[in-house]
Symmetry: C2
Subunit: 231 residues, 2 copies
């Protein structure tokens, strides 16, 4: 069975507000619930595992009960680092029956069901796939305050989530990251370090990560557009 691990153990100081950003409301519904609903409607994901700060677990369970999330199978307390948090999420996956594991940011509520399914299917086929959007800006490599070079924009993509991997690959990548005490912000980089080819599935710039206070304003607009389109 394919499983999604929803990473929501970040404190999110950058977004302002009293609560961690994954619990702030968008259109009256917490961001994390919007995100989980996308996975509820996915045809490729059978279960979701949510990783949270330890002190958020009980209030989240109450919240989840109210929204009736049929695929939610485990709520796990995260660790000190992102690597440790995802690792604990991985421990909650039943190894014997595990297929593809898709890791997704709890604060990316605008991923579409279709994007999730495309990434998971690609990972079923190739072992490893991530959602990404083409770069639209000119990107410069800078050192000591000067431009070293202008990168070829055509080949640059912004990594997003979900990032989906065969369970054994992701587990191996995390075992190695823990041995090397490396805190990854990007699961794909860990899998790439194993020498595994990671496929890229084209997503859209709408799949934003809600990080800063102004992202909430943009998120309200995207939410309105999506509900107008009844998506």
């Amino acid at each position: 069975m394919n499983v999604a691990i929803i990473a929501a153990a970040g404190r999110g100081e950058r977004a302002g507000g009293k609560r961690a950003k994954q619990f702030q409301e968008l259109g009256g519904i917490p961001v994390i619930i919007h995100t989980l609903r996308r996975f509820e409607h996915s045809s490729t994901i059978g279960q979701t595992i949510v990783v949270l700060q330890a002190d958020e677990v009980s209030s989240f369970l109450a919240l989840a009960g109210r929204y009736g999330l049929a695929k939610l199978s485990r709520v796990v307390a995260g660790g000190e680092t992102r690597t440790e948090s995802i690792w604990r999420g991985l421990q909650a996956v039943r190894a014997a029956t595990a297929g593809v594991v898709a890791v997704h940011d709890g604060v990316r509520p605008f991923v579409t069901v279709e994007e999730i399914d495309r990434v998971v299917r690609k990972a079923e086929e190739t072992g490893a796939a991530i959602l990404a959007a083409r770069a639209t800006d000119t990107i410069k490599e800078v050192a000591s305050g000067c431009i070293e070079r202008t990168l070829a924009r055509e080949s640059l993509w912004h990594a997003q989530t979900p990032q989906a991997f065969r369970y054994d690959l992701l587990r191996r990548a995390y075992e190695r990251a823990r041995e090397e005490a490396c805190d990854a912000t990007d699961d794909s980089a860990l899998v790439e370090q194993l020498g595994v080819a990671v496929s890229v599935v084209e997503g859209s710039a709408r799949n934003i990560k809600i990080t800063r206070p102004e992202d909430f304003a943009l998120a309200e607009i995207l939410l309105k557009e999506m509900s107008d389109a009844r998506c």
Copy 2:
């Protein structure tokens, strides 16, 4: 004297709406007027030159009259390509008295006066400087649908405008671009190709380029925040 060339000859099909995006209104004022006002308040820029589509020139002159832009010195009809348009703008600069030329996108109205002045002063000092914002996403180099490598995020910056250069450098860069029939979307890349070191001045992610319809919604939010801050 330092001059700003405001590039506003793009048709902007991507932003939707009937008019080119630089003429659409934000808070009741055309985007290009917001942009020009920033340069009106700059202490480092003495004159502005606006490059427009030929058929927009007369209506722009009427508009500009209404807003009383003291530094607006020339309105120039652009060419078929961006390179040709900026080249025509450069022809309108008085070579004998030219200092630094700052090229700026007409559809970046949220640049601050302080950012403009920092870039221009840096270019006065080093010959070439651009405004840029640190990359916050993980950027992947992708070939044939697979990740080739994960770039070191710490060294990656998003190029913005203004991009400011000593007049002779920019002129030389454009002469070469025209000889090689190369259409640049980024002036700095042309100057880099001369072997000139280009300095980077740190800007902010708020200096957005209004390109797509959803950018206008974000722009309205940024405008409101800025007027709240009386900036």
